[in-house]
Amino acid sequence: MMRRWMVAAVAVSLVLTACGREVGGDDPAAGDDTGSEDTTDDGEDGAASGVSCEVDEIDGDLLLYNWSEYMNPELIDLFEETYDVSVTEDFYTSNEALLAQIRAGGADFDVIVPSDYMVEIMIDEGILLELDQDAIPNSANVDELFATPPYDPDLAFSMPYQWGTTGIGLDLEAIGDDDPAASWAWLFDPDVAGALPGPVSILDDPREGMAAALYWLGYDPNTTDEGELEEAADVIAQARDWTATYTSDQYSELLLTGETVAGHGYSGNFIDNFFGADDPDRYTYIIPEEGATIWTDNMAILQGASSPCTAHTFINFILDAENGAELTNWTYYASPNAAASEFIDEEITGDPTIYPSEEVEANLFFLENTGEAEILFTDLFTRAQG
């Protein structure tokens, strides 16, 4: 008995001493965080953090950290030949995993490819190197749709890589409609979604899930109005009757295995999976006309990269018109490179699910960081899920 109390006492005193040190600011964890706070300020001032590179300057081999199946290997070969450097590519599976690895100091990479909202977080945390715009003349090729994104308004820290939308994947045979309306009704209208022969799935992401309901109600997906958000949560809660589950990584599989007949998800993942299905024509992806989310993945350079100038050269290389087209011809994702359009296969540019019409494009929205309201989004969405 005595022994047990002693162990407890040791544990408690450890916790206490740790707390004491923490307040004093000596604790390594505390030190780290205050450190990144400081760099945030530097980053925003843009003073000391940038580097200066010449166009096409090479200062070492390139370490590229990217999503898998997201880079045309021939482009890597071409870059290596042209600049006589070696490129090592490694892969990650989620923005959160990428951030966690960088925070822990275990990511010794030059170029990373985070999504829009993660770019903003990384800028805030002071993780990204401010780009030397003079070293990236091809940034003039970036489509105006992506020239002033809310997450990095001046493209000071990132350059768009590929983009897509968040919409709905449909099993045409199950819904018995060859030309389905482009509407969120497939997920939320009791008369449409409620009457489907099978259930639907919704993204397990508070921002994307709530945005879908907000589009359906005709509201701004970045609203912080509590009344509107609660209405959106009610829409999702009502849809529970015909919702199978909330998932961010299995929506295509569920649709292809017949577990669901409609799914909320990202364009690229649906299109990839439909392509590999037994009967690709059975499925389609729609971008709802009420409004939909547009997302980008972006090239950025890490603070402390060992070859920052090679990294600039690489970004400039990808933003070249023909190289940008080669990338899209391989990935089947849309290119943010306006100059590349003429070199992209017509099969891709003519596909409205990859390259939406101008009307649809006008109705696409970036999800912006809403600050404190993110907590409201998360709690309302969690409550709506039941």
Binding site: E22, D33, E37, R207, R240
Partner: protein, 312 residues
């Protein structure tokens, strides 16, 4: 090390040749021996202490500290401006709802595990030793493969054209949906944690002296009476250990509800995860939830163990 020889002497039976014991000297030697013994014990235990401090006490301390921190507007955790705001949110309706659901699902899981495991453990404990060993290996075989993979296998088993639904429809139920329901989550948890109930139950039932049950029967106790008055009380330590081993991980389950759950199945594990990963990025609140659950669990487990008697 100077008293090492003294220790060795003290451990040997004192050569007293029937003389009256020299109390003072022997007491002194015994004292030295005890001290050396406890130092050796500490050295043997040292790796475990280091392990506990490094991988339990320190991380826990960091979680505790974070629970008093502040979430900045952009979603960063600011260490400073210490406050209790995160703890204030613990009584939100949503937190209470999810806690209640986790409690309920964990309780149902524990009871089902107990009902299945008790007769099974009793059966194993009463077999011949060789059969016993074989059956125990069978209980542990699932551990040889990854829990995540096995949970995904359940997804296939419970899917709309999977065997379970087919059988239910064959029996006459129509329009059955198992996957993504609370039933599926409970089933997955029972499957995952059943061995944790069987093993401690087996341990206490195997130790049980069957002549006591025979004695009860000799004294005209019915089978049920003998079980209620003899077997059950003697196996209670196993019941309590098994219940705790099943209840606690079920209460904080994350993988199972994420994979097998759908609507109306959010449990505490997923809610906490959502505070750390994703846009809410409210680490102080996630930490406060974790700390509170940990302390409530520790207190509850202490009471539960106490009520189980001193045998543990």
């Amino acid at each position: 090390m100077a008293n090492e020889p003294a220790t060795v002497e003290a451990l040997e039976p004192p050569d007293l040749d029937g003389k009256p014991p020299q109390h003072v000297a022997v007491a002194g030697l015994e004292h030295d021996a005890e001290k050396a013994e406890s130092r050796r014990g500490f050295l043997i235990g040292l790796p475990s202490y280091v392990y506990l401090v490094l991988f339990f006490a320190l991380p826990l301390a960091i979680v505790v500290v974070y629970s008093f921190a502040t979430r900045s507007a952009s979603g960063l955790t600011v260490l400073g401006d210490w406050n209790l705001r995160s703890y204030g949110r613990l009584t939100d309706d949503l937190v209470l709802l999810i806690t209640w659901r986790s409690f309920w699902i964990a309780t149902v899981t524990t009871v089902i595990c107990l009902v299945i495991a008790y007769p099974f453990a009793y059966y194993i404990a009463t077999r011949a030793p060789r059969v016993r060993a074989l059956l125990l290996v069978l209980v542990m075989i699932p551990f040889w493969s990854n829990f995540l993979v096995r949970t995904y296998a359940w997804r296939l088993l419970l899917s709309t054209d999977g065997p379970f639904v087919r059988i239910l429809e064959f029996i006459g139920f129509s329009d059955v949906r198992l996957l993504f329901t609370p039933t599926a989550v409970t089933l997955g948890l029972v499957y995952g944690y059943l061995p944790f109930m069987i093993l401690p139950l087996y341990a206490s039932l195997e130790r049980l002296d069957h002549s006591l049950v025979e004695a009860a029967r000799d004294l005209y106790a019915s089978g049920w009476e003998a079980f209620r008055r003899v077997t059950w009380p003697l196996s209670r330590p196993g019941v309590i250990a098994g219940s705790i081993l099943v209840f606690i991980p079920s209460f904080g389950a994350y993988v199972t509800p994420e994979i097998l759950g759908g609507t109306g199945t959010t449990m505490l594990g997923s809610y906490i995860q959502r505070q750390f990963v994703g846009t809410a990025s409210d680490w102080p609140f996630g930490s406060a939830l974790s700390v509170t659950i940990l302390f409530v669990m520790m207190i509850a487990a202490t009471f539960y163990f106490r009520s189980g008697g001193k045998d543990l």
